[in-house]
Amino acid sequence: MITLSNVVKVFKNRFGSFTALDGIDLSIQKGEIFGIIGYSGAGKSTLVRMMNLLETPTSGDVTVGDTNLNSLSSKDLRRARRKIGMVFQHFNLLWSRTVYDNVALPLEIAGVPKSEHAAKVNELLSLVGLSDKADLYPAQLSGGQKQRVGIARALANDPDVLLCDEATSALDPKTTDSILELLKEINRKLSLTVILITHEMHVIEKICDRVAVMESGRVIEMGSVVDIFSNPKTTTTREFISQVAGDEHIDAEFLQNLGQGAILRCTFVGGSASQTMVTSLVREVGVEVNILQGQIKRLKDIAFGTLYVHIPGNVDIEAQAIAYLKKNGVKVDILRGAEGGGQA
């Protein structure tokens, strides 16, 4: 749906130049919710603004649908932008217009006859649950309601793509979740491709199918959310995961005092629910299992858990347990082998 190939963006000013995007290659599938996560200044906003050419690339190509945006005349670009909705962190609503008129603005801009506005605006307001607020002004709404208006407005011209730049970053956690639910619902109902920029892993785990991690203008890691969670490759990614994974650190002294046996980190994805796995491991392999620490989280539509266990016994027992776990689709990392003890 969206393809960026070797996109570079250099900002120039009196003091010199700054490379905000340093060769981005990205391919976003139709109908997926694609997350882009990174710290402030990583280049996320610059990247998402490439996708409707609010920011023009210094070099490289940006393709949305089957049009290469760089090649369009300014008139055609304006037409193409109608099919790419955008939602902003600070909502960017017109305070001089009512909720209704804010949602109607894109229709006015696209030259849709006024007689067709009411049906479309009312449909969108009911989609975002604001039918009763049509005549209010944005100043009379809460942050979450403002963002709902922003989303309704972005959908006015039936776009194929929805770009969300930190759409939930100005909202409290509860409102964030309700907006994420709404985006998920829209994605499903309208089979819309959604691109979500965020610095919060919570947003990614909640609704994204795939994620790209950005740092210093580069994509440093990219893949399905499950893969990224179960097998992060960079420190930055691990830091983001730890935002939502709680404290994964296990006290070294505590491990020392555990005595003989293996210490394992088991990662469960999807089907293999951790509790039944432990029970059957004990029953079928006949080993003892001490659960040290564990948690299960729900990603968009898949369960994902990590469990730290201590299995007393020798190398044979360790090998049997690991073989059983692996056979059942559990990823196992050995933190300390059965023999020797002490070192991780």
């Binding site: 960017n92 305070w95 001089s96 696209a110």
Partner: protein, 227 residues
Amino acid sequence: MNEFILTYLPNVVKFWDYIVKAIGETSYMVSVSLVLSAVLGIPLGILLVITGRNHLLPMPAFNQILSFFINIFRSIPYIVLIIILIPFSRQLIGTAIGPDAAIISLVVGSAPFVARLVETAIREVNRGVIEAAQSMGASNSQIIFKILIPEALPAIISAVTVNAVALIGFSAMAGVVGAGGLGAMAYNYGFNGFKPDIMFFTTVLLIVLVQVVQMIGDAIARKLDHR
């Protein structure tokens, strides 16, 4: 009451018809120059913003020249402007005195003032909102007429109100150099003609006019402001 007026404002009664005429002249000068200065000043103010760096239509050289000329007109004292514009008035309307000639200098003097006030008003419009409109595929003219002007309207109304008050003051000054109106009345009859009651009364009228104009302007701006 009648007795009071006859005792303290004898000339006001005697010259009442003149005062009525002067009110008419002042209203005419102020309202026509208010409209003309808004018609000139508002587009200039918008141009000052959108031709600036990083805005809709960046034209740095044009922007600096425009800004320079606006500053020049703003720094010429009004009384000097009246004199400079005498030949121009003769060319344009055939005379350099009277209310119409005053309107020319009032417009030339206040349009740049309006332009600066409108510039500030337009600059206050949130950049994010402009960007949102661009992301919808809005053209520059749609952004000006659907975003910039409506969003800045209360501030533009306030700017026009400030200018109206300034115009009332300047029209009184123009009156002194032959444009008629309440200022001329105060000066010619009141000051030169030794009729202090006329000077007092016309001044009170000017004060009332300013208050009324300010009240109306504030009310409209408040009604339009949904922030």
